[in-house]
């Protein structure tokens, strides 16, 4: 197999080439599912699996195709990205969970704000598969991110000036696997809270960095707390200017232009269809329950509405991705609420047999794997990435012009 991007200019051929390659390269579905399930449980196994997938993607040019050419990507169009995402979803190909920050946030932030040194070292490293995590939230700074207190002090040193970091970070996904961290810390405590924040590129192997996984309600640990004690970050690893970190962080937070939500929702579509198909094959009892049938059908209607909502955003982005819109917030709420409601339905369909920690997959109720896990996990989505309550603030203030909270 050669570089699939050679076919990118004919979308139909590109699609078929990706589809054929995926059919070839992917292991049986059970193996894939088992390996995906190592996430947050078996760190070494999951890392190996993710790195295997990265290597396969690299072989065919699908590792960083969406990056700009000057950063080592292929600068492919949004439509081409969508074709890739659709085929990944169709094939239930592995998610690139370990590399979300690496593949999206790092280039989106470092390319516009990085020095030559930073881009050459870190963007190139990310392209090679060095894993990045994000150190933004703190125990005292969640929705109110700008209230962060992690302290960064400039220290003059003949061996090279550095910032001394002390503080604590939380909800840092995949940081057990990370080589580097995009970090926000406070360099000035005497100004308006947004004006005293700086943005750093931190080596996770530096002395004083301690990673403690957080045991989730799902009994997995996908994210961790970071304890930072006298960590030295060389001044050349300050990204952008001192105290301008909030502006830089906006680029990080805006890096997602809808393609991730798109792929995720397309995956949900195939998942819901597979569940229904299995239920029909097994003539599952719930198919005869009017209430459950109706809920399922309505979720499919919402799914279609959501998929079209995401397409509306993508179309807007293609015209002008800087145009102000609250659609990403609307999409976030609709998507995560649908996932939660759908998992809620499956949990009820599952009955007592669905209440075991490791239920039999595709049991008599036609429930795939673990609906209880999915239900609990769904709160990760309604809370992470700006809680749905914060999204409602954004929708009402920026979308509907209602006054800001004082």
């Amino acid at each position: 197999v050669s570089n699939l991007l050679a076919k990118k200019d004919n979308l139909d051929e590109f699609r078929l080439a990706i589809r054929a390659w995926l059919k070839d390269v992917l292991p049986p579905a059970e193996d894939l599912e088992r390996q995906e399930n190592m996430c947050g449980r078996d760190y070494a196994g999951f890392e190996k699996f993710q790195n295997w997938w990265m290597a396969e993607l690299k072989k065919v040019g699908l590792w960083t195709p969406h990056w700009p050419v000057e950063a080592g990507g292929a600068g492919i169009s949004l439509k081409q990205q969508i074709v890739i995402a659709e085929e990944m979803a169709r094939a239930a190909a592995p998610r690139r969970n370990m590399f979300v920050i690496t593949l999206n946030h790092v280039p989106a932030t470092l390319i516009p704000f990085g020095t030559k040194y930073q881009i050459e070292k870190y963007v190139a490293g990310a392209a090679n598969g060095e894993v990045w995590c994000q150190g933004f939230s703190e125990p005292g700074a969640g929705s109110d991110l700008a209230g962060l207190r992690c302290k960064a002090e400039l220290v003059k040193d003949p061996a090279g000036d550095y910032y001394r970091i002390n503080g604590q970070k939380i909800w840092s996904s995949m940081s057990k696997h990370a080589r580097y961290c995009i970090l926000l810390a406070r360099t000035d405590f005497n100004v308006r809270k947004h004006a005293g924040i700086s943005y750093f590129l931190m080596d996770m192997k530096a002395p004083g960095v301690e990673v403690r996984p957080i045991r989730q309600a799902t009994d997995r640990a996908e994210f961790s707390e970071l304890f930072l004690t006298d960590v030295k970050i060389p001044v050349q690893d300050l990204l952008g200017q001192e105290n301008k970190g909030w502006t830089v962080a906006q680029a990080t937070l805006a890096s997602e232009r809808g393609v991730i939500a798109f792929e995720d929702t397309e995956r949900k579509r195939y998942e819901m269809e597979a569940v229904l198909k299995k239920a029909v094959e097994k003539d599952a009892a719930w198919l005869k329950d009017a209430q459950l049938r109706r809920e399922f059908a309505r979720h499919l209607a919402t799914l279609q509405g959501l998929r079209r909502l995401i397409r509306e955003l993508l179309e807007k982005n293609e015209i002008d991705h800087n145009a102000p819109t609250v659609l990403p917030s609307v999409i976030k709420v609709v998507q995560t609420q649908l996932y939660q409601d759908y998992a809620d339905l499956l949990t009820r369909i599952g009955g007592v047999e669905g209440q075991y920690f490791e239920p039999e997959p595709w049991d008599a109720n036609g429930i795939p794997g673990d609906a209880m896990h999915d239900f609990l996990r769904s709160f990760g989505n309604t809370i992470a990435g700006g809680t749905n309550e914060i999204q409602r603030n954004i929708i009402s203030e920026r979308g509907l012009g209602m006054p800001r909270e004082k």
Binding site: R293, A301, G305, Q391, R392, N393
Partner: protein, 386 residues
């Protein structure tokens, strides 16, 4: 007295975000021209006067119908060959959305759905009636509920003479024809005022006309016996009701947000309270989803899953409309409960829309069965073409 005027909103700032996505500039032009005319001709004041039967205000309905004909709106969905504009379901969807936005009174949904039905099943003689429909010269009534016809229809035929009764028709009491379930057929029955008698009823939604029919030897000018005939009528009505609901829901929720910005309590506008801001956000979230569910039905309308998506969209969108309109009434506080504000008109439209065609539960059941049937044939009902 002028509260409702102060609360009227100007939606221009929201237009781009809140419109159903359309591709052709032709549809955009149609949308803008309809919106412009209705903003002037059917504003909140005129609508209230119509509802209250003030002076000559009842003429609003006939005046708008005439204007709609002159501007080509009534021929939007009718093919060019039959004297229309040939803008298809997308054009019709646009029209119904704009009519819904202003709660325009008139037999649009019934007549235009029946016209689509005639396009599909009519013989040459029946199709000759399409040009007069586009010209606003005649309207057609239909059963308000298709799924309830076993209970509402007592019609039988001898040859082409139809007799019996039917409850709850939707349209205008001045309808020239009614599309009716007669025995095992769907028949286009002439209403001449002699062999047929219509008696108006008083629905809660004062912007729509419902009535009962009695006939003795009324003439069926066309009868169609395929089961598709009933499904097709249900589909056309469902699409229209869904689009009507999208437009109406948007008006009332944006109007409510604007009201909250002007209403001051505790020395601050209601719109500044987070509990209310989140409610407003939920309205937008529900509406954004609903307009795309309606979009799904329009996009599917040429394919094998047209009936299923029209029915499921009608169920989903009208439920959203009931939620939105009801919450808007509540969010207005006391004035929302008054006759002079708009809220109750939207709640009533939402409730009627929810009941039209069939119960949302039965339409959802039918859709679920169709999804499963397609799946058994190895076909997905969820494809979206890029």
């Amino acid at each position: 007295m002028l509260h409702w005027q102060a609360a009227r909103r100007e939606t221009d700032g929201f237009k781009q975000e809140n419109m159903m996505a359309v591709e052709s500039s032709e549809l955009d032009a149609l949308r803008e021209s309809i919106a412009e005319v209705l903003a002037a001709e059917c504003d909140s004041r005129k609508l209230h006067d119509f509802v209250d039967g003030k002076d000559n205000a009842r003429e609003l309905e006939t005046r708008l119908w005439k204007q709609a004909a002159e501007l080509g709106w009534l021929g939007v969905g009718i093919s060019e060959a039959n004297g229309g504009l040939g803008l298809g379901v997308e054009g019709l969807g646009t029209l119904h959305q704009e009519l819904g936005r202003r709660l325009v009174p008139g037999p649009y949904i019934a007549t235009l759905a029946a016209a689509q039905w005639i396009e599909a099943f009519g013989d040459d003689a029946a199709k000759k009636q399409l040009a007069p429909i586009a010209a606003g010269e005649l309207s057609i009534a239909v059963p308000a509920s298709i799924s309830a016809i076993n209970a509402t229809s007592r019609l039988s035929a001898k040859g082409n003479a139809v007799s019996g009764s039917m409850k709850s028709l939707l349209g205008s009491p001045a309808a020239r024809y009614a599309l009716l379930p007669v025995a095992d057929a769907w028949s286009l029955v002439e209403l001449d005022g002699k062999a047929s008698k219509l008696s108006a009823r008083r629905p809660w939604d004062p912007t729509r006309a419902l009535f009962d029919l009695e006939c003795q030897g009324a003439k069926a000018v066309l009868s169609v016996k395929t089961p598709e005939a009933g499904w097709r009528l249900a589909r056309e009505l469902s699409l229209a009701v869904a689009c009507d609901s999208v437009g109406a829901a948007e008006t009332i929720y944006l109007q409510t947000v604007e009201y909250q910005k002007t209403r001051v309590q505790f020395e601050r506008p209601l719109a500044s309270f987070q509990a209310l801001k989140h409610r407003a956000a939920n309205l937008k979230i529900a509406h954004d989803t609903a307009r795309h569910v309606a979009g799904q039905a329009l996009a599917a309308s040429e394919g094998p899953d047209a009936d299923l998506w029209a029915g499921l969209a009608k169920a989903s969108v009208t439920d959203a409309f009931v939620f939105i309109a009801s919450d808007c009434l509540q969010l207005h506080g006391g004035v929302g409960y008054t006759w002079e504000f708009d809220c109750h008109l939207y709640v009533k439209r939402a409730r009627l829309n929810q009941a039209l065609v069939g119960t949302n539960e039965s339409q959802t059941d039918t859709a679920f069965d169709a999804i499963v049937a397609a799946m058994k044939q190895g076909r997905s009902t969820l494809e979206i073409s890029l």
